[in-house]
């Protein structure tokens, strides 16, 4: 086993053990708290919160991916080309809005809980995926497209058999970026009562318990590193098939 995969595996193991039996790590956090306060988050299961957190992020990213990739495909077709500037600015607006502001606007519309968080993450995740889909689709070698047309592939066959497979590493890189941003951003969802790891951090801030803040933060950070790594692996597999070197996919 290579050292890098060993590190990967132990990080995953650490995360799983920590969220399933956090009490075992109590000794690490005891020096950080005032006497009498709990050393380990005690207002719910860390494991359940982690799953909730992941669920929100996955659903939001899935929705962003669907819309962003569909939009990216549409504006690179001849019929959709004139919508390119418009969709670019729309997606950019989604990114410039601070997620906390989206939450503030969304709560009166959809109520407290997961929904406003979902909306914020969805909007926030669009830009990287959309931009990368555009880049991926416009970088398809023109000779490959010309050959595809010359061999009698129709527009749909060209898209599915040539353009999307060639753009895949770029699209995956966009999804990875979007997931990482969302994993962190999702913590603020807890300010509007969404279930997630933000709860742990906020509980810690409210009761002045640094151990809680650290636990919430650490789990989110480990998740981000692992997901980043896992998706990066997928990208490299996709890119290797195209014969590109690893450094070309950021």
């Amino acid at each position: 086993m290579r050292p890098s995969s060993l590190v990967r595996l132990s990080a995953l193991l650490l995360l799983v053990i920590f969220v399933t039996m956090p009490e075992a790590f109590a000794f690490l956090f005891e020096p950080l708290i005032t006497p009498g306060a709990p050393a380990i988050y005690n207002q719910g299961s860390l494991f359940a919160l982690t799953m909730q957190h992941l669920r929100t992020v996955c659903l939001a990213t899935l929705a962003s991916t669907l819309l962003a990739v569909a939009l990216g495909i549409f504006v690179t077709r001849p019929s959709g080309a004139e919508f390119l500037p418009l969709s670019r600015s729309l997606v950019n607006i989604g990114q410039t809005f601070p997620p906390i502001a989206v939450l503030a606007i969304a709560v009166p519309l959809v109520g407290f809980g997961e929904k406003p968080t979902f909306v914020a993450l969805f909007l926030y995740g669009l830009l990287p995926i959309f931009e990368n889909t555009l880049t991926g689709l416009t970088q398809v070698p023109p000779t490959a497209l010309e050959a595809a047309r010359g061999m009698g592939m129709n527009a749909w066959q060209r898209l599915v058999q040539v353009e999307l497979p060639l753009a895949l590493p770029m699209i995956l890189a966009g999804i990875r970026l979007s997931v990482i941003i969302s994993l962190g951003t999702a913590t603020i969802g807890s300010t509007v009562a969404a279930k997630g790891l933000g709860e742990v951090i906020i509980a810690g801030l409210q009761s002045n318990n640094i151990a809680f803040v650290l636990q919430g933060g650490l789990v989110v950070a480990l998740l981000a590193v692992l997901v980043h790594d896992g998706l990066g692996l997928l990208e490299r597999i996709a890119a290797r098939k195209l014969g590109r070197s690893l450094d070309e996919t950021p």
């Binding site: 070698p141 000779t143 490959a144 497209l145 010309e146 050959a147 595809a148 047309r149 010359g150 061999m151 009698g152 592939m153 129709n154 066959q157 058999q161 040539v162 497979p165 060639l166 098939k241 195209l242 014969g243």
Partner: protein, 312 residues
Amino acid sequence: MITIDHLTKRYGSTLVVDDISFEVEEGTLTVVVGTSGAGKSTLLRMINRLVEPTGGRVLIDGEDTRTIPEDALRHRIGYVIQGYGLFPHRNVADNIATVPRLLRWDRKRIAQRVEELLDLFQLDPAEFAHKFPHELSGGQQQRVGVARALAARPALLLMDEPFGALDAVIRSKAQDDLLAIQRRLGTTIVLVTHDMNEAFHLGDRIAVMDQARLLQYAAPAELLMHPADDFVERLVGTAERPFRLLSLTKVQEVLEAGRAEGEPITASESLHEALSRLLWTGRAALPVADAAGAIIGQVSVGSILRHGRPLP
């Protein structure tokens, strides 16, 4: 037979192809040659309707191409471009299988056809079938590009500068290979190039284009001896004319009795090759051998020189 009938293409007020008509005999190789911007690629791309003509029509065996759905037409016509446009995400076998798959051939038939083509192009299936395009040399990519175009046994093959990306040594080998495969399969080929040497090497007939017009359509020897106008004469190159003429004639045709000294030349070689060997070795005549290596006569400088000028 391909009939190009008053074909015209106009972009705005610019004429790119101006009222061109000619016929391509079945099983022959026709080269369209001209300077860049002469409209030769556009002419080629109108045959498989990648470019829609402004006027005129193209008939394949009497059938108007406009009556055939675009994609179906292109499945029937092989197409090779400069740079080949191999799909980087598909291996060699899958690249070659592109059109058979579009035509929904069954798996076994596709596998058989791919293997057959790899053999034909001297690419060992065990070694190359699973390689990706970026793992191939330029010459191998070129062969895969042509194999892919021939996969569904098209009766017509269109080639746009197919050797443009190859260096000189590989290029002449690739040209010879193409000729051999064309003779073997009997495919009708229309090939576009800006290289006069290539045109004379490959063409059964040559169409010379300049500024959207067809200046002359004739056999290579005819082009040399009776150029239609000054432009064709300049393009053919007056200094190289006799040598081009010599390269069109085989040693066989000037065979004389006698037994000269030295390394024999094969009867199927060109007079150009024979002359250059005579010059290099300083001899007046060379023995001629047949394909099996038996001496069948000789070829002399005098007989060669008589073929290097137009007959009265």
